[in-house]
Symmetry: C2
């Protein structure tokens, strides 16, 4: 990939917003283009990180696997987002495994050169901190949900968030697509596909949503918002 093209991609990433033009050039030079086919493991939990990634195209899951093979998806990474960035600063191994759910195109930033560069660019450091803040915020909310709320509340909140992301607002009649299979979504919500299926069916019978071919239409936002507040038992 050419430098000019990389620069264009970087400019659209949140992590690099506000970074000066010549700094962007340097970053583009040190970024390495790396592609992964569907199902490929990008890095393994426990492995020593050599750098971090920015997703350009495709879909990546960050996943924890228990000894008996059950999965919990920490995060679904969308294009434009970075992943594996946190461990670059701690001398610790990757806390989760990253796997490509679709054919993926990424930019790889080698740890060593990136750290060196970070020291001379306050704007980048500031962005990095903001990015990690948002990750922390997100994880905190997930933790709250999983430990305090039941599945229906988590699902309701997820549907509302998806609607917000897709349309910029929440309202009746708005339709959006699920990012991946329901099995993955279940793992992301800390449950299993059977339970997700049942819960969605219940939402439909309550008149809160409509379903068709992996598309969801919200018909009663107020009902969903009420359920999203719901407490565990």
């Amino acid at each position: 990939m050419e430098i000019i093209q990389k620069k264009k991609i970087l400019r659209e990433a949140y992590l690099f917003s506000g970074v000066a033009e010549n700094d962007l050039e340097t970053l583009a030079e040190l970024a390495v283009s790396r592609d992964f086919p569907r199902q490929a493991v990008i890095f393994f939990e426990g492995k020593e990180p050599q750098g971090f990634f920015m997703l350009v195209r495709g879909l990546v899951k960050l996943v924890k696997t228990s000894p008996d093979g059950k999965e919990y998806i920490i995060r679904l990474v969308q294009p434009g987002e970075t992943f594996g960035e946190a461990v670059v600063f701690a001398d610790s191994p990757f806390p989760a495994t990253a796997m490509a759910l679709e054919d993926c195109q990424t930019l790889f930033f080698p740890k060593k050169t990136f750290l060196h560069y970070l020291a001379v660019s306050p704007a980048l450091a500031r962005n990095m901190l903001a990015t990690m803040s948002r990750l922390l915020y997100h994880l905190t909310r997930q933790l709250e949900d999983v430990s305090l709320k039941e599945v229906s509340a988590r699902l309701a909140r997820y549907l509302l968030e998806r609607c917000q992301e897709t349309h910029g607002r929440i309202g009746a009649g708005l339709t959006f697509a699920l990012p991946t299979t329901k099995t993955h979504l279940a793992a992301y919500l800390g449950t299993i596909s059977e339970t997700l299926s049942r819960t969605l069916a219940r939402f439909k019978s309550m008149g809160a949503i409509e379903m068709e071919k992996g598309k969801i239409t919200i018909t009663d936002p107020a009902l969903l918002q009420n359920m999203a507040k719901g407490t565990k038992s």
Copy 2:
């Protein structure tokens, strides 16, 4: 509090390790001493952060509360650690409430001045990133535990970690204290005091631990380690 005293405190904090002496002086000047009595709320979830805190003495819980009053403790803050630092970089409200569990002495760093200073100190920025990395790592593990493992596995891991923290190693016969009440510990482990009580009793009957007056003695580390790996159902 005097500057010289503050400096001494700062020097012991992980966040400021490796920061140059004169930088430490500047930080000590901008830090404000603030004390809180037991049970006091240091900041509320949803409130706009004006800065962040470093705990000098006492014990603080960061807690999420559900509408029906149930609590989940995100983190127990020990002296020498900072809290509320993440939101300083994101324009978002506090994701959790901070409450003093004992009489607390803190240093408060106002957001504005701190950010200004951060821009000129690469070492501090680097430390900040490392600190947040470790928080992320910690949250990721908690998330894994709560969603993938059952209470006994979480408790077993917690006991082993406490032992490691206290003695620097894990072995039979080592004794350590619980940081606070069992009710708080239960909320931290994502359960309730009754269940914690039962699980501890079961550990004891299995011969894995001994209990006396808020002190725990590990008698069979291997058994605990095995259970910490345990999977949900």
